[in-house]
């Protein structure tokens, strides 16, 4: 019996019992007699109540990171990064984790549908396949298969389908990296996007590149970013961002160069010019040629064009050249404009003259985007369809009706094509235009592979049996069935699984290492695929394109900037409630669109925060709530893409606006890409009544020292403890006396008692003899201490019980935190956090246990200081919340946790009032009762609920538990092997998911643990230390670089 058969049996066992147990447990009435349904056939090595893990691949964006799917009772309940995967190395972004909600989307298509007049008729698969096959057979080579980026076997299968039934395969992505590829073709003669070795860079300049959000492979870049920021030697790891609007990637930068929208390329050229003229950087062979090409991009000229002072350019150029290897990155919206290719090429030039090509700009493990149609090619296809050259259109994984601008002939094409088939999981705008809908299984339900990057052969395996309520089939099987029905006389394998194995036979030949195929296949499934190290393709300079600034066009005096959303990418994430309720990291808004304008602009227009703003271009106009943001140029207005769906399920439909509709017809001709940037817009006060759903209204920390920084100079100067009190003077570089230690006594703050000046001073374990073991009953015996207790008496556990064995604790490194909010989604998934909707979030009633507080000390061109603080329950040693609870619903656990017992909670809410961090969430409504309108887990979303975590009912307080269920699981495993808990064995959901490893969890009582080392590190501090709560969560100060060049 082949392994996958076993896998299948495993996956469908105890589904029903699983639900019965995991079902929402609210109320306390004794239930009526229940039926227990055992498996019919018990899989010998599988048990209910035990989690099982399957390696797979994430398909939420072209990057294709590796997944580990955690399943319980045959249901996938959480997605985590695959540590073995070379791209994401264990981390996983918010969008990737929310893929789970695509699987459990309540609005998924239930059965094959055929359009009848205005409505849809449900048909059987056989009918549907026969119908489609017949049409394809009749179409005779006039069939088109339109998909998103597909790699590996799926692309091959599409090709074979084309050859057999004459279907043309077109792959299109709204953000297709056209400019990058065009520029690389021009300068390096290679049609690829490079891999950015951010970690190795000692100076990073991002030209509009959202490399921590959507560009290329955000997770691996974030990992590299953390490594770069960890550099210490004379101020390495300097980060400058060049963009008209401070993106949430740019928020992490030390310096913001606010170039005019569309002129970023000139900045790059100006820097290159300085480097070449001053003879900085390595002497490359083509320096002479470049010198000529760069001659007329003098800093002065550039300054005039870009509104960036010449001296800034010169300074940055010198810095960039000195800090070799440095890295300049083009990407994001800046490369999606009329000057996109110019920017990409200019950045190539800059990197080249600074000698970064081949060092930080590498062409080894590059994403496979070859064969991806540019928008120009796509338009040609559409045009030919519109011309009636296509009879059958199969669409999968692409949503042109939503993502393509109006002037692209999508509608015409779809109207003209007589027979359109949607192979889709959810009903999106494009699906609505089709004649037949075939429900496709979610990637987590089906086999497949993704060779998303060179040397990466990732496998995608079903983590569970197909959901019973959706009669779906995997894409591969459908294509094969269609191919069979479509004639063409090709002999197809029985299933896509067979096809896949057939293809992997070839890999077996290469990587088999003598194992038989079954073994190879099984091990590949377990590892998540096969990964090989690939040498970097040597690239040579093939020529410098000529640069010319193209002017902005269209009526209006404001530059329109449409940015891909960190939460929704191009809009495909919009039907995931987790992402909808995940605050955007720039505006901290949820569940809708907003337009960012500069305060002065707002004043000029007479628009206040949240008031309607009318944005008008030659193509159309929208009204969105205004968000007043200092981090944007006065002459620019920015709207995030991804919202404004007219279909795509209850969570996406009718939220915000789809700003793509604003795009006038314009393209980056050189690359053949849509110009999301370059158009002008008119702004005026809107009329429609609308709401801006802000989750964090106040972005000034009022000198409360919540997010602290320390200048790198201070660290290097050995004055490590001299933290920065923030509050305006951030980055200015002055330091408090070390005596003030790690709570800098800023103005208006309590003078800190000496005893408070070291975190964990009282949590420091005493030196213990070899082989010391705590008394067996220590943890458990609640011996009342009869003598007066000073916190210092208790070596391990502040405010806790005699001789406790563990003190679970956490550190958060603000220097690594990029505010990507992956931890928030991870927590949502792990702890059954209900989604409450926009109105409650706006009123401060969101339920998330961890949130990313964004504090803006300085958002203006020049030195930039934006701080992200992941804020969760601090598990204080002396917790203010505990002493006020009248019923012991919250108390201090023997292991240092601040416990919250839901069923004891009466709901006085006193604890939340007394919590300085305000991290306790109250169940204002009944989110767990299916009969209530406020029910947060409509079927089948409740299949995702973690059976180890209670689903809280109305009227109880809840908060971060430091994933107590994981702690118990880990301790249980240790007990089973009769050993102590290993450091790092237990990971909270947030710590596990963090792409930059900013969060460390562990046992403070273990002197060898990583968390212990960090908790006593030089950058440590506690939030609100003057309150003497002695938290279990220690923060590490963010390190700021001196923006005057960073020479320490």
């Amino acid at each position: 019996m082949s392994d996958d058969q076993v896998a299948f049996d495993r996956r469908d066992f105890l589904k029903l019992v699983g639900i019965g147990v995991a079902g929402v447990t609210a109320g306390c009435a004794k239930p009526p007699a229940e039926k227990l349904i055992p498996y019919l056939v018990a899989p010998e090595d599988i048990l209910p109540g035990v989690p099982y893990f399957y390696a797979s691949t994430c398909r939420e964006c072209p990057a294709g990171c590796g997944l580990i799917v955690r399943t319980r009772e045959g249901r996938a309940i959480k997605l985590e990064g695959n540590p073995a995967h070379p791209l994401n190395e264990g981390g996983l972004c918010a969008r990737g984790q929310a893929g789970l909600q695509g699987l459990y989307d309540p609005d998924r298509i239930k059965t094959p549908l055929v359009k009848e007049g205005a409505g849809w008729k449900a048909v059987t698969w056989d009918e549907a396949v026969a119908l489609v096959g017949g049409k394809i057979a009749a179409a005779k080579n006039r069939t088109t298969l339109l998909t998103g980026l597909e790699t590996g076997s799926m692309r091959a299968l599409a090709g074979e389908l084309g050859s057999s039934v004459g279907a043309k395969h077109v792959m299109w992505e709204p953000f297709g990296f056209e400019a990058l590829r065009a520029a690389n073709r021009a300068t390096f003669g290679i049609d690829a996007v490079p891999r950015l070795d951010v970690g190795a860079a000692r100076c990073l300049v991002a030209f509009g590149a959202d490399l921590l959000e959507t560009l290329l492979s955000p997770v691996s870049q974030a990992r590299g970013f953390a490594a770069m920021r960890a550099q210490r030697d004379d101020g390495g790891g300097h980060f400058v961002t060049v963009e008209p609007r401070l993106s949430s990637t740019g928020a992490n930068a030390d310096e913001w160069v606010a170039a005019k929208s569309g002129t970023e390329f000139a900045v790059a050229l100006g820097m290159a010019n300085v480097i070449v003229n001053e003879g900085l950087g390595p002497a490359a062979a083509e320096r002479a040629a470049l010198k000529g090409a760069l001659a007329d991009w003098t800093p002065e000229k550039v300054a005039a064009l870009t509104d960036v002072p010449a001296e800034t350019l010169t300074r940055l150029a010198r810095l960039f050249a000195q800090r070799s290897p440095s890295l300049a990155v083009a990407g994001g919206i800046a490369t999606q404009g009329t000057n996109g290719t110019a920017l990409a090429a200019a950045v190539n030039v800059l990197n080249h003259v600074a000698g970064n090509t081949g060092r930080t700009v590498r062409f080894d493990r590059v994403l496979d985007v070859s064969g991806l149609a540019t928008f120009a090619q796509f338009s040609v296809e559409l045009a030919s369809m519109a011309a009636g050259n296509c009879d059958v259109l199969l669409v999968h994984g692409a949503n042109p009706a939503y993502a393509a601008p109006d002037w692209a002939p999508v509608k015409d094409a779809f109207l003209k094509v007589p027979f359109k088939v949607a192979l889709s999981t959810a009903r999106d705008e494009t699906t609505e235009l089709c004649d037949v809908i075939l429900p496709i299984s979610h990637p987590l339900e089906s086999f497949g592979d993704a060779w998303s990057a060179r040397g990466v052969y990732a496998l995608q395996q079903p983590a569970m049996k197909k959901l019973p309520m959706f009669d779906s089939r995997s894409l591969g099987d459908v294509l094969i069935a269609v191919g069979k029905a479509g004639g063409g006389g090709k002999s197809w394998p029985d299933s896509y699984h067979d096809y896949l194995q057939g293809r992997w036979k070839a890999l077996h030949a290469r990587f088999g290492k003598g194992r038989d195929f079954e073994t190879f296949w099984t091990e590949s499934l377990q590892a998540g695929g096969v990964f090989e190290d690939v040498p970097a393709t040597a690239v040579r300079w093939t020529g410098t394109p000529s640069f010319a600034a193209s002017e902005r066009f269209g009526p209006g005096e404001y530059a329109l900037l449409l940015t891909p959303s960190n939460n929704f990418y191009d809009g495909r994430g919009a039907n995931r409630p987790w992402l909808q309720e995940l605050p955007d990291m720039t505006s901290k808004t949820v569940w809708g669109s907003w337009a960012e304008i500069h305060p002065e602009t707002a004043q000029k227009l007479g628009v206040k925060q949240g008031e309607p703003l009318r944005v008008e271009t030659s193509a159309g106009n929208v009204e969105v709530p205004a968000y007043i943001y200092g981090g944007i140029r006065k002459d620019t207005v920015a709207i995030a893409l991804g919202q404004g769906h007219t279909s795509y399920g209850r969570y996406a439909k009718g939220r915000g606006v789809n700003a793509v509709r604003l795009l006038p017809k314009s393209m980056d001709e050189a690359a053949g890409a849509v110009a999301y940037q370059g158009a002008n817009a008119k702004l005026s006060r809107g009329t429609a009544a609308m709401e801006l759903y802000v989750q964090q209204a106040e972005k000034d920390q009022h000198d409360r020292h919540i997010a602290q920084i320390v200048p790198l100079a201070a660290l290097l100067g050995g004055k490590a403890a001299a933290g920065h009190s923030g509050g305006g003077e951030a980055g200015a570089g002055e330091e408090e006396a070390p005596s003030a230690a790690h709570y800098p006594a800023g103005e208006g703050v309590h003078d800190v008692h000496e005893s408070m000046t070291r975190p964990g001073k009282y949590t420091e374990p005493k030196a213990r003899p070899e082989g010391w073991k705590p008394p067996a009953h220590a943890i458990t015996a609640f011996e009342p201490k009869l003598k007066g207790r000073h916190p210092g008496d208790d070596p391990v556990n502040v405010g806790s019980y005699p001789g406790a064995k563990h003190r679970w604790a956490m550190t958060v490194d603000l220097n690594s935190c990029t505010g990507c909010a992956a931890c928030v989604v991870a927590c949502n998934a792990e702890n059954n956090i209900p989604i409450v909707g926009p109105d409650l979030v706006r009123r401060g009633r969101e339920m998330q246990w961890i949130r990313i507080d964004r504090f803006e000390e300085k958002v203006a061109p020049g030195a930039n200081d934006v701080r992200f603080v992941p804020m969760m329950c601090q598990h204080c040693g002396d917790a203010p919340c505990e002493m006020v609870c009248p019923v012991y619903a919250t108390y201090h656990s023997p292991e240092g946790l601040n416990a919250q017992v839901y069923n004891r909670c009466v709901g006085t809410r006193y604890c939340s009032n007394n919590c300085p961090y305000k991290v306790r969430a109250f169940n204002w409504f009944d989110y767990s009762a299916p009969e209530k309108t406020t029910f947060a887990f409509p079927e089948p979303l409740n299949w995702q609920l973690n059976p180890d975590v209670t689903v809280r009912s109305k009227g109880v307080m809840e908060k971060c538990t430091m994933c107590i269920q994981r702690i118990l699981e880990g301790k249980g495993n240790a007990k089973d092997e009769s050993r102590a808990v290993r450091d790092g064995e237990i990971q909270t959901a947030c710590a596990q998911s963090c792409p930059t490893r900013a969060i460390t969890f562990g046992d403070l009582a273990d002197p060898e643990s990583a968390v212990h080392e960090k908790s006593f590190g030089e950058r440590r501090y506690w939030v609100f230390e003057e309150l003497y709560t002695k938290p279990g969560v220690t923060y590490l100060q963010k390190v700021t670089r001196d923006t005057a060049g960073g020479e320490a």
Partner: protein, 463 residues
């Protein structure tokens, strides 16, 4: 010996006088005057009572929503997890305090003006506590588990957290409710006996007999009655101060800026007496006018109450100023921010209503003419009560709204539900009070009689 003097016939008609203030009182006429309140009520009373019940019904609807849908129907959010609920609680507890103070403390001090007013004040106390006690009960997220707040033996073997200020509240408020009710009912015994003797309907007679414990006025009854009454007063007096101190510690024990202050206990007690006396005045003025009892509750009595208001007003004002001074003088940035926000933030109307009603307007009481002008006094005391409600609102909402972490500062907007709660609490209170006025002697016959001249043959029939 001379038999010249003859006692007046029983039930002699009460003497009359053209100035209501100066109408003389005899022992018999006192019974008539007081007991005439206990009679089938007229149209006005019924109108008021029906209206009151209607309002109460609406409020109960709101409470039903709170319990069925959860507290989400209110305007609360993080960080303002308490607002109108606890505001009402503290307000009514404060109202309740004046009653026991007037009856117990003034009893110990043997100040005679109390005898005319203390029955109304005590009724107000009992009904005030009854109103106040409702709010901690319904303000919880799961009111059906409120009994967990009481330490009762259970199979789980878990108890309440005696170290929580909220638990102190449970003990303090329940003790206060019990003791003040006993005090009230015991004081009623001799007067109810008088009512009993006049009751016609057998049911009424029966009920009053129960309430009067079959009181006959025998010497041994009087002896132990006053023996015990003294101790009730002696127990209730410290209780008054302890209870409101405990209530204030609900806030003072927390570290929320604006709550965390050692000033709170005396500050709250003064405020309680302040609002309580004002409420007594608001209740007495209509009663003495409507039932023509100006000769029993005289202007002098009212003026003494007014002076009490003036005194406590200055104490409250002093507390306000101290708070601001400490915020300005102390090193705590959060507290300084908070108090600046109180006076100038988006909740400034609440703060300035409080300040003007509690500190500025009462300054008028320095004028004797004002103190003796019942209309003016009535209006002023209304203002004082509004001001005192807003004091609690300001303390609770503004402090929570600007707590330590700025990341979740939002604006609080009051909801219909909460307004219903406020109005409903008054309806609930007056439901009791309206009934009380018509079924129980609203003035202490026995104690007032003690102040009357005792008929002696020895000195020509009079003292």
């Amino acid at each position: 010996m001379s038999q010249t003097l003859t006692p007046p016939a029983p039930r002699a008609a009460a003497p009359v006088h053209d100035d209501p203030e100066k109408r003389p009182i005899t022992q018999a006429s006192l019974n008539d005057d007081v007991l005439k309140l206990i009679s089938p009520p007229g149209k006005i009373w019924w109108a008021a009572f029906i209206f009151d019940l209607a309002v109460l019904a609406v409020a109960l609807g709101a409470v039903r929503n709170l319990i069925v849908h959860g507290w989400g129907v209110s305007g609360f959010f993080r960080p303002v997890m308490w607002a109108v609920d606890i505001t009402n609680f503290v307000f009514w507890v404060g109202i309740a305090h004046c009653g026991t103070l007037v009856s117990a403390v003034l009893f110990l001090f043997r100040s005679h003006f109390r005898r005319a007013v203390y029955r109304v004040a005590e009724a107000m106390t009992v009904f005030g506590v009854l109103t106040a006690a409702m709010f901690p009960a319904i303000h919880t997220g799961r009111p059906w588990f409120d009994y967990w707040l009481f330490p009762y033996p259970n199979q789980r073997g878990i108890w309440t957290n005696v170290r929580s200020p909220l638990e102190w509240d449970v003990f303090a408020v329940n003790t206060y409710l019990t003791v003040s009710s006993i005090f009230f009912l015991v004081g009623l015994i001799p007067d109810v006996a008088a009512v009993r003797d006049r009751a016609k309907h057998p049911l009424m007679k029966f009920i009053y007999t129960l309430l009067s414990f079959g009181w006959t006025g025998a010497n041994y009854q009087w002896k132990h009655f006053y023996g015990a009454y003294l101790f009730f007063a002696a127990l209730a007096t410290p209780l008054v101060f302890s209870v409101h101190s405990v209530v204030s510690w609900d806030f003072a024990m927390a570290q929320v800026p604006g709550w965390h202050s050692t000033l709170f206990a005396p500050y709250f007690v003064a405020g309680a007496i302040f609002s309580g006396v004002a409420m007594v005045i608001n209740l007495l003025i209509p009663i003495r006018k409507a039932f023509k009892l100006e000769h029993i509750v005289t202007l002098d009595h009212m003026e003494k109450l007014a002076k009490l208001v003036l005194l406590t007003s200055t104490m409250v004002g002093y507390s306000y100023l101290t708070e601001f001074f400490m915020a300005w003088f102390g090193p705590n940035k959060a507290e300084a921010d908070l108090f600046w926000f109180r006076a100038t933030g988006y909740l400034w109307p609440a703060f300035w209503t409080m300040f003007s009603c509690n500190v500025i307007f009462p300054l008028l009481l320095w004028f004797k003419g004002f103190r003796r002008n019942m209309t003016a006094m009535f209006i002023l005391c209304l203002f004082v009560n509004v001001g005192m409600w807003f004091e609690r609102f300001v303390i609770i909402v503004t402090s929570l709204n600007r707590a330590f972490n700025p990341a979740n500062w939002f604006h609080y907007t009051i909801s219909i539900t909460e307004i219903a709660l406020i109005v409903g609490s008054f309806a609930w209170f007056f439901m009791f009070f309206l009934v009380f006025v018509r079924v129980l002697p609203a003035f202490s016959i026995a104690e007032i009689k003690e102040t009357l001249p005792v008929p002696r043959r020895g000195n020509g029939g009079h003292r």
